[in-house]
């Protein structure tokens, strides 16, 4: 089973009784906590302390300049509730994340099943589908900005004979962003599913075939349950990535047209660096953090409950 899942505390796990290693039941003392100390210092300084300070700033009216700030209680959160643009960005964030999670993992799974088969071109296909993952999201966004240009003779329109203004039409733009993110990261999901597929014992498939199971039945009853850990990690990574998405939107549309592709991360960026409302900006960041935490917790508990030991 995959190890990219949250393990239960060691205390609640029974010792692997009855299987002593070559050294019998000898077990050395645990390593000292000092092994973790240097990592902990850097982690606290760079991640935990600033995040904690951010939580404090979320309750102030700090402008980002000088030391002057006062505590304003939940005023920033009340402002957020009244801020139509910011509230709309919450809807956009959730829709965008949902679209990315569903399509990226669906496509990733199909690609993985395809390149898992014994094809002559499988090695090359894997490289092709994974390559966009290694390119900077900002550069991918600039490329797609051209691919999505409204000219009927160029880019995607020219290829498909369409006349869509992919990034300029407010009813299409959010899905266009989702499309370029899926193009970039479908290969990432594919590789994780592939790792899961390679862990499915071939004997199980052979046994199911002898029992007369068809291709679909073998997938449904043999492969799919054993893929559960890969599904968990894929859903978690794509959800967290979707909720936090920034670079692609910043480079491709910067939230536009109008507010059609504005998400929590672009709104909080503008509040801080365009309007100088650092207190309000961190309050929006805190809301984003709570979204990510809530969704991750639900996924961990729900998805782990359906994982089977492989």
């Amino acid at each position: 089973m995959t190890h990219l899942t949250v393990d239960k505390p060691p205390r609640s796990r029974p010792a692997p009784a009855g299987r002593p290693g070559p050294l019998g039941r000898f077990s050395a003392s645990s390593p000292s906590w000092l092994f973790a100390a240097p990592a902990l210092v850097v982690y606290v300084a760079v991640v935990l302390y600033p995040a904690a300070a951010g939580v404090v700033y979320a309750f102030t009216d700090w402008s980002g300049i000088g030391q002057e700030m006062s505590f304003v209680g939940v005023a920033n959160f009340l402002t957020l509730l009244d801020d139509e643009q910011a509230m709309g960005s919450i809807g956009n964030t959730l829709l965008l994340t949902l679209a990315i999670v569903a399509v990226q993992n669906g496509v990733g799974l199909l690609l993985a099943l395809g390149v898992h088969a014994k094809l002559r071109s499988r090695a090359m296909l894997r490289v092709v589908f994974f390559s966009p993952v290694v390119v900077s999201p900002v550069m991918v966004a600039f490329l797609w900005k051209y691919v999505y240009n409204p000219d009927p003779s160029a880019g995607l329109n020219g290829l498909l004979g369409l006349r869509v203004d992919w990034l300029g039409d407010p009813s299409v733009a959010l899905w266009s962003i989702a499309g370029m993110v899926v193009w970039q990261y479908a290969g990432y999901s594919m590789v994780i599913f592939l790792a899961g597929l390679e862990g499915v014992p071939t004997e199980l498939h052979e046994a199911a075939m002898i029992d007369g199971a068809g291709t679909f039945q073998r997938f449904r009853y043999v492969t799919w349950p054993l893929l559960a850990p890969a599904v968990t990690i894929n859903l978690m990574l794509s959800t967290i990535g979707g909720l936090k998405l920034f670079d692609q939107i910043f480079a491709a549309t910067n939230g536009g047209p109008g507010y059609a592709t504005e998400t929590l991360s672009t709104v909080l960026y503008k509040q801080a660096f365009v309007f100088g409302k650092f207190g309000y900006s961190t309050a929006i960041a805190l809301v984003l953090a709570l979204f990510v935490a809530a969704v991750s917790l639900v996924q961990v508990y729900y998805l782990r409950s359906r994982e089977v030991a492989s």
Partner: protein, 270 residues
């Protein structure tokens, strides 16, 4: 067997469609402005390398490549060292402290960096590290430690304890047992850790824009971003810049791709 051929044809067709944006990128980078406006989809005829020569100097890619290489290289060394040591304790500790610290590290995967963005900017500024390589290295080491610790801890948990125990019966300390016996066994997951962190650090855009903008120590994505902004309407030139900017990491990937995908699989399987 016929079904395998059919699947192969379908998959190759999907791959060709998937490569359309890449074709656009390369074709436009080889065209002059007249070709781009008249025959945007056609093959470049004749291809020209003018865009590349111009983009290389206009985007100041030479210095950015050095900056990106230094920042990525040192961050990777720090991440492997700090991450593997911490994970050895977290995976082997029998105490509540070990589990508590593990959860504390996992929290970092979930927290959006935006929450600490502004306080961290102040901290980096107060330490005098704004606009320096050291500031960026500290940032990447901290921000990528949770994912690194997560990968290493899972992998070490699946390793038998016996190797380290045997070394300790022979009188080795925990430190020696780890560096001499356990760390070499971590090679597959270290490969995964290196690749995933290299891709993240090399390609990160927003933080170096914020911390390095205007310092003369800009990384590749920041230089390309500024370059694209400047020549926005000249697509041939812009795309030549994108090709040059993406080339180093793509070349590293193409050379190492067998290990990338294998390391990925073994990293996930443990």
């Amino acid at each position: 067997m016929r079904r395998t051929y059919l699947l192969e044809i379908v998959m190759v067709a999907v791959a060709v469609a998937f490569l359309f944006p890449v074709y656009t990128l390369i074709a436009l980078s080889l065209k002059d402005p007249a070709q781009i406006s008249q025959t945007p989809l056609a093959l470049p005829a004749p291809p020209t390398l003018d865009n590349f020569a111009k983009a290389w100097s206009a985007a100041a890619l030479g210095p950015s490549l050095v900056n990106s290489t230094v920042i990525t290289g040192v961050s990777l060394v720090a991440l492997v060292a700090l991450g593997s040591f911490a994970a050895y304790f977290l995976a082997r500790a029998q105490s509540r402290l070990g589990y508590g610290l593990y959860i504390l590290f996992l929290l970092g995967i979930v927290l959006p960096f935006q929450l600490g963005m502004i306080p961290l900017y102040e901290l980096v500024n107060d330490l005098g590290l704004l606009g320096t390589h050291a500031g960026m290295i500290l940032f990447y080491t901290g921000i990528q430690l949770p994912f690194t610790v997560f990968l290493y801890t899972g992998f070490i948990r699946a390793l038998p304890r016996d190797y380290a125990s045997a070394a300790q019966i022979d009188g080795a300390s925990h430190l020696t047992a780890f560096t001499r016996v356990v760390f070499p066994l971590l090679r597959p997951i270290t490969g995964t850790v290196l690749i995933l962190n290299a891709v993240f650090v090399w390609n990160d855009f927003f933080t170096p824009l914020l911390y390095l903008g205007g310092s003369g120590f800009e990384t590749v994505p920041v230089s390309v971003f500024a370059f694209v902004g400047q020549y926005v309407s000249d697509h041939g030139l812009v795309f030549a810049g994108l090709v040059l900017g993406a080339l180093p990491i793509v070349l590293v990937f193409l050379v190492l791709q067998r290990y990338v995908i294998k390391g990925f699989s073994s990293g996930l399987k443990g």
